[in-house]
Amino acid sequence: MRISIAMAAYNGGRYLREQLDSLAAQEHLPCELVVCDDGSTDNTLEIIACFAETSPFPVRVYRNEKNLGFAENFLKAARLCKSDWISFCDQDDVWLPNKLDDVRAAIELDSRPVMILQNAYLCEADLSHRKRLFPNRLRVGYHPPKSQFGFWVWLGFLQTFHSSLLNFRNNSRLPRNYFPGHDTMSHDKWTCMVANATGGVCVLGGPAALYRRHEKALTGSYVDQTMRERIDKALPVGGDHYRFLSEVAVEIADYLQAMADCAPSETSEDFVDAARDFRRIARVQAARSQLYETSNLSDKVAEFTKVLTQGGYIGPPMISLGWKSLLKDACRVLGVIGTARRKTT
């Protein structure tokens, strides 16, 4: 079993050496490391060149003529890989020696998944950690195609995917990101989207890497949240955000439709199905945004029913939001939650 590593480098000199050394210490060595540099201005390239001099596997470095941004840069590096399986690699983590060996074992055991997902210990800048696994959100084992919610993602460096996924990448622009604040979809969201549409994923238990969260304190989804905090965070989210999600879902559906036109017939159907599911997500999210923007009770009930009948709360895993959203929207219908723009402080 041969595994390539795809790395997108950009001004990551600070922790890069440690990352590269951890690749060299793998029990199952990768068959190559492909680095695409996006115009670094620090010592990144020197560190890679220095590592390549004595590396226990071939290292190929490419320099982009113009800045691609990290998402396109990662996908470019992955496309330049030669082997069947590809791992993304960031520039500031430390891989534990068992990472690729675990992947190899999983691939040999089960031929169904097109993507293997692992977990990492969440660490401070100095790599100290409290043994908390991250993302740790999926049951260990095999998950069939279309078993994840449409907007799902797993950290890029904890994915190892089959190179056939990249055959579906066409030249059209990546769709918009469903997290506001970034403009295009990131590389790991793209692979997750395609893997979810076309093949199953396999999740492995146990730690495979040390995930460094430097500079920023452990914030957002990285800290254990109490139910109270989660509710506080979810309440102010209203119509604007749902409308945004609906627009993004339409964009992704168009993108998947375009992929279906290029893909061979057997996978083409998968993409058509996925595009249809994303249009349903768009309708669900549009109805939700209406629900939060109207104050008329009968309108609210009508929108709520629309979401319900589309399978927005209970339905196919790719579309359904789950009982917590159902609860929140029910409160909204009953008028417990006020207009979306009211701040709950």
């Binding site: 050394d21 210490a25 029990e27 060595l29 990768p30 001099e53 004595t54 226990p56 071939p58």
Partner: protein, 311 residues
């Protein structure tokens, strides 16, 4: 000059924490009569003075060979070290040497002659003159099973004496770097060469070989508790078989089906042995599965081993 018609050969010396023996090993490399010769003295990030000694000796060297000294930035272990070196060698023939063995002055010349006469040769190995730890000459030693069939080599735990090997770079180019870090390079290159029908043997002791210490000593196989050693040895076996299976799959071979089956059967046994020590529940489940035979074999050999411990 006849030198220009002869191909460049690389003499690769692998060293790790061998400050006591490295001088003699480097002198053996410098004394080679073959030209043109590139000598690479490579250190796997030793914690002792091995690298400094090699640097000093290379700086003081004044002879016909081209000498390079290099060091890995971190400790890669044997396989990583071999991969790293094979990435950068200039010769198409590579003579491998360990940092604690002494090569006879004619070693490269004799090996190069075999490669020259036999274009199909991929790997040339030889006898050794064994030394004890103090450097006293002991008897000659020849590798076991010289005329082994590819079916035996596929599952063999020793193909030739690793310290005497010389390979064509094609064994690396065609099959790619070795990815299993817990195996030994001779077990892999020997198998690859056997697949291509290119193993050749020289009946001369070309290497003075310290039999009680070796590169292998850096692995856990030789220290730790008995159980740990046994597990490390099984992991090593598994890694070797996996690497051979990958190599076999990358190039079609006439006996592909048979070899593949033999390797897989051995792998099943090794997995069963591993589970015997590490995952007893999985072992029990295995004895009830379709590969029960492999589990029974593992059980019998491991209980024999356990009895041996008591007795």
């Amino acid at each position: 000059m006849t030198d220009t018609t002869r191909p460049l050969v690389t003499f690769a010396l692998f060293a790790y924490n061998q400050e006591k023996y490295i001088r003699e090993a480097v002198e053996g490399a410098f004394s080679q009569t073959y030209e043109p010769l590139e000598i690479i003295l490579s250190d796997d990030c030793s914690s002792d003075r091995t690298f400094e000694i090699m640097q000093e000796m290379a700086a003081a060297y004044d002879g016909p060979h081209e000498v390079r000294v290099r060091q890995n930035h971190t400790n890669f272990g044997l396989i990583g070290h071999v991969n790293a070196l094979l990435e950068i060698v200039s010769g198409d023939t590579i003579v491998l040497a360990a940092g604690d063995d002494i090569s006879e002055a004619a070693r490269v010349a004799k090996i190069a002659a075999v490669f020259d006469e036999n274009p199909s040769a991929m790997l040339v190995h030889s006898m050794v003159q064994t030394l004890d730890a103090s450097g006293k000459k002991m008897g000659l030693k020849a590798p076991p099973n010289l005329d082994a069939h590819i079916m035996d080599i596929a599952t063999s735990a020793s193909i030739y004496i690793g310290a005497t090997g010389a390979i064509k770079r094609d064994l690396y180019r065609i099959y790619g770097p070795i990815s299993e870090a817990r195996t030994y390079e001779d077990l892999i290159f020997g198998f690859r060469a056997a697949l291509m029908g290119g193993i050749f043997y020289l009946e001369n002791p070309l290497v003075q070989y310290r039999s009680d210490i070796g590169l292998a000593s850096q692995f856990r196989r030789t220290n730790g508790s008995r159980k740990e050693r046994r597990i490390a040895s099984i992991c090593h076996r598994l890694a070797t078989l996996r690497q051979r299976r990958v190599d076999l799959n990358s190039q079609r071979h006439l006996n592909y089906q048979k070899i593949s089956k033999a390797i897989k059967n051995e792998e099943k046994k090794a997995v069963a042995r591993f589970q015997f020590y590490v995952e007893p529940l999985a072992f029990l489940r295995g004895t009830l599965s379709t590969s029960a035979y492999a589990y029974l074999k593992a059980l019998s050999s491991e209980t024999k081993y356990a009895l041996h411990l008591i007795g």
